[in-house]
Amino acid sequence: MIDIILLTLLVVVAIAIIRMKDLFAVVMLLGIYGLLSASFFVAMDAVDVAFTEAAVGAGISTLLMLVVIAMTGRKEKTNRHKPLPALCIVLITGGLLIYGTFDMPHFGAADAPIHQHVAPRYINDSMAEVGVPNIVTSVLASYRAFDTFGEVVVIFTAGIGVLTLLSVARRKEDAEKISSINDSMHEQHLVIRIVAKMLIPFIFLFALYVQFHGDFGPGGGFQAGVIFAAAIILYAMLFGLNTARKVINQTFIQLIAAVGVLLYGSVGIVSLMNDGNFFNYNVLASDPIAGQHLGILLIEWGVGCTVASVMMIIFFSFAGRLELHQHNERVKNQESS
């Protein structure tokens, strides 16, 4: 019942997003969409996914899209091509896909192949083999550690890409300009500054809780990293980018992003050197369970460090670019007037 209501709302919001022309409204609706799909995940009992969706889909991505819109403009471009052939192709493909689902086992059927292959082993043996109560964490960090390593590397690559494309402090005159911008805009917003000052330590604590509690409940490195970065982004938004840059050294963040990936990979290397497979944590300590715990702890740290610092890198590059843009416009306006 709850699933059906939530799915209907999702479809309605998605159609509204497509029909909108105002990009700001689209971003706002995407925020609603993220919240809705996260509550859908909660209703489906996929708590860890809901956690990630809450932190990334509803929070950080909305912010990044807003920064981009602030630079590019609010109106959607009118498209001139005729979308009829595309519509036909989409309809045919969709029809074929729906036709394909008729052969699939019924939703939630116990004898579906997906529930027969590796899932029984995870559910039955993960407590004895890995010793972590949260099965999602044991699958993500131990059984499928190699896949997760790939994900972390992808995030790291995204950070590098953003840095290469948008790194603002490359030219000298730009760097001087940036340090001259005084952007602590919410000088008059005393209320929000004080509330943020109260909240930021709490957010840091909560991120650490999520990081270390991932073994027992929903959470883990990815979510913790995003929450940690969100606190710093909040600080940067309220007290100005330059203040935040002084607090958190940019080079240090970039170093941490690399150290996270290295930490993750070196756990695998160490397990290779101890006569195990790549990411086989059993050999890390004398007791297999203790080795698993140690390995999961280390790689979650690696994931957390990389995700947090890459999120900060992306935000700082985007916002720094926006600031430079606004500064140039202001200078131009002053010269013309």
């Binding site: 709850i2 209501i5 709302l9 309605v12 919001v13 509204a16 105002d22 700001f24 409204a25 706002m28 609706l29 925020g31 609603i32 919240l35 809705l36 996260a38 509550s39 909660v42 209703a43 009992d45 708590v47 809901a50 956690f51 809450a54 932190a55 509803a58 929070g59 909305t62 912010l63 807003l66 920064v67 819109i69 602030a70 403009g73 609010r74 805009m185 919410h186 929000i192 943020a196 909240l199 957010i203 909560f206 999520v210 509690h213 409940g217 929903p218 959470g219 979510q223 929450i227 969100a230 982004i233 909040l234 938004m237 309220l238 926006l322 606004q326 416009e329």
Partner: protein
């Protein structure tokens, strides 16, 4: 009673979506998203009790925090020229001092 509260929150969510879709000014949309966020926090806490898994509350805390941060972000970046209230939004435009 839990079910009734869940239903009431669903109705409130639907109304918020309607306001978010039609909302004439952009601040209406921000308001709708903000309200939607609080409603999601409540919905998740209630769902935790309805389904008997109160560990969902961690997510509710994350939602409350992230909602705050994204609203602040929206307001921070609505300060730029792109977001100045435009006269064809059906309201009068006041010049910035």
């Amino acid at each position: 009673m839990l079910i009734a509260a869940t239903l009431a929150i669903f109705v409130a969510m639907i109304l918020a979506i309607i306001r978010g879709v039609i909302g004439p000014t952009l601040y209406d949309r921000i308001l709708a998203v903000n309200m939607f966020g609080t409603k999601t926090v409540l919905l998740i806490s209630l769902l935790g009790f309805v389904m008997g898994r109160p560990e969902f509350l961690d997510i509710a805390i994350v939602y409350a925090l992230i909602n705050f941060i994204s609203v602040i972000g929206v307001l921070r970046y609505s300060d730029t020229n792109q977001f100045k209230h435009s006269p064809n939004d059906n309201e009068s435009l006041k010049k910035e001092p």
